[in-house]
Amino acid sequence: MHITVKCYATLQRFQPEDGEEFSPPGGGTVHDVVLALGIAPEDVAVIFVNGLHAPMDKALAEGDRLGLFPAVGGG
């Protein structure tokens, strides 16, 4: 399975180099991908899959676009 991954703001340091064609090594949920990237799940505040707000246990499918956000509230 290949997905697109984009990590924002403080999570950007976990952005995989192959983010456009990322192959999650483990299982197929958002949680699995988060762990595979080395991100602590509690540091992920908001998840989007294919542009839609999604939960951590969302199952991913071939070609899905995953966006991971930390808490952001500055101004």
Binding site: Y8, A9, E42, F48, L52, H53, P70, A71, G73
Partner: protein, 310 residues
């Protein structure tokens, strides 16, 4: 202002002398003051030279905002708004001058948003900030100058708006807003804006806008990331999505990355475009049934549109 002080009694006499409706008098004075102008593309318009609307307002007893609306309804463009055309037309500019926007937070986001609202010609702006300027504000906050350190942000905002566009009727709230205060603050406005810095009060601001029945445009920034979303009353907005328990579970990204002008200015521009759309009665593009949040990442120069509806 000494001019106003001696112009006003004369205007009163004039009104009594001719026993004519003051709005008719205002319109006639505006028509007499009209001069030919041109838009940048050469399109001819009828214009009021800068200062003419203010002088006529003083003489007629109308507010500057009312005088500008009356001018626009006659097809006369006050010179200060000439570059708002033809993105706006006379009806649109008059509608902005009648619009009511409430903005909480006069820091990194709020200073730039307020500046834009005033320059566009939004007629009623309610602002709130209880804070004073600190040296750490100087890297990004439009209203923060060295001379203002230790001074209230709300006072600097009021002075700035008066200098930029005195037609704006500003309602300044200087107390810290908490809980139910937000519903009062956002009551009766066309557009509510959350430009708060930090997480603490964003959830209650979102609840307050919903209680007031006002669409809320919220922006937040960390480092090179800017995000803006609109929540119509009853919808989940930025705060409800990012802080569903009313607070942040982890250290928020801005505490690590700080806040800098590039992302703040992008966010302020997104807020302003949405605020103008809503003030003109157009549907939101950053929320609502057909809109989506905008996230700009300036490190990769990407724009993502994401739905908070799930």
């Amino acid at each position: 202002m000494p001019d106003a002080a001696h112009a006003r009694p004369k205007a009163t006499l004039f009104l009594k002398d001719i026993s004519m409706g003051s709005s008719d008098m205002l319109r006639q004075a505006l028509e007499r003051a009209a001069v030919p102008g041109v838009l940048s593309d050469g399109t001819p318009v009828r214009m009021l030279a800068h200062g003419a609307a203010a002088a006529i307002a003083r003489q007629s007893g109308a507010s500057l905002r009312q005088a500008e609306i009356a001018a626009l309804e006659l097809g006369l463009v006050p010179e200060r708004y000439l570059r708002n055309f033809a993105t706006l037309d006379c009806a649109g500019q008059a509608r902005l001058l009648r619009a009511r926007v409430a903005l909480v937070g006069l820091g990194g986001l709020g200073g730039h948003i307020l500046e834009g609202l005033a320059r566009m010609g939004v007629g009623h702006i309610r602002i709130a900030d209880h804070d004073v300027f600190e040296a750490t504000n100087l890297n990004r906050q439009l209203l923060a100058t060295q001379a203002e350190l230790g001074m209230p942000k709300a006072d600097a905002a009021a002075r700035r708006v008066a200098q930029v566009n005195p037609a704006v009727e500003l309602d300044v709230w200087r107390d810290r807003l908490e809980g139910q205060d937000f519903a009062r603050f956002y009551a009766g406005v066309d557009v509510a804006v959350d430009a708060l810095g930090g997480v603490a009060f964003r959830p209650v601001a979102e609840a307050g806008a919903a209680a007031a029945g006002a669409p809320l445009i919220a922006a937040s920034v960390a480092g090179w990331t800017a995000m803006v979303a609109t929540a119509l009353p009853g919808e989940r907005g930025l705060a409800g999505t990012f802080f569903p328990n009313g607070r942040s579970a982890a250290t928020p990204a801005e505490d690590v990355l700080g806040c800098q002008p590039p992302a703040l200015l992008v966010a302020a521009g997104l807020v302003l475009s949405e605020a103008v759309r809503l003030a003109l009665g157009q549907p939101p593009r950053l929320g609502g049934p057909h809109g989506r949040m905008a996230v700009v990442d300036l490190s990769s120069v990407s724009l993502d549109r994401l739905s908070l509806r799930g």
